[in-house]
Symmetry: C2
Subunit: 134 residues, 2 copies
């Protein structure tokens, strides 16, 4: 079985079974891995949430992003209450298998504050500023 | 003191002291928070690493990104061994204070495999493919 280390030096186009790679992902003690959602069209980083193995598999099978909610301890299809679904365009793992990048078509606002991205608090040496209108 | 909840509904341009917001960040049990690095020019998501309070302050003060290495348990100025520094363009916190977004000018490759991004493993329902040339 190819390890992530093997894939580091494998030629472009090398393909291995998903199950082999999922077994090598570095889930934390709660069985979770961070997943970054990026808007496919604008490139904006929208949010970060968490997935377990089943959320990864559901997202791939269903084509809409399903996270695992740490606060509610349950699966959470993004948009299931807000209508602001994330249609999956692509999923990538990183080199050492500890982060997921999701490129998505975002319906409506990604943020629960109705801003397009959750990252609206601009930080400098002294202060934090609210950057996007509510 | 303004809480993150207050800032959710504050008008654009509202400014609060950095120290007040850092006290509200949701550091994990190891005192760390995930930080996403995004290339300012291309919009590519480059990598995810971790920061503690001091790494945040050092990054802002020094203008180059400093992470906290979980494996080596020490501060790590990205590029200090590779020369592949990340010059900070902007830092943002997200709505609930549990993730940082760094926009950077990346010198050289962000990934230790010398690929421009760490997210070169494309995932589908069945398989994982190496997407970028080594």
């Amino acid at each position: 079985m190819a390890t992530l280390k093997d894939l580091e030096v494998s030629p472009e186009g090398t393909q291995v079974p998903l199950a082999d790679v999922i077994d090598q992902l570095k889930f934390n003690n709660d069985g979770l891995i961070p997943a970054i959602a990026q808007d496919h069209d604008s490139g904006a980083v929208l949010m970060l949430a968490w997935m377990d193995r089943h959320a990864i598999q559901r997202t791939l099978a269903e084509g809409q992003v399903v996270y695992y909610s740490r606060s509610r301890q349950t699966y959470w299809r993004k948009g299931e209450t807000s209508g602001h679904f994330q249609d999956l365009v692509s999923m990538h793992f990183d080199c050492d298998g500890d982060t997921i990048l999701l490129r998505v078509h975002q319906t409506g606002a990604a943020c629960h504050t109705h801003r397009p991205t959750c990252f609206y608090l601009a930080v400098d040496n002294q202060s934090v500023s609210v950057e996007l209108p509510k």
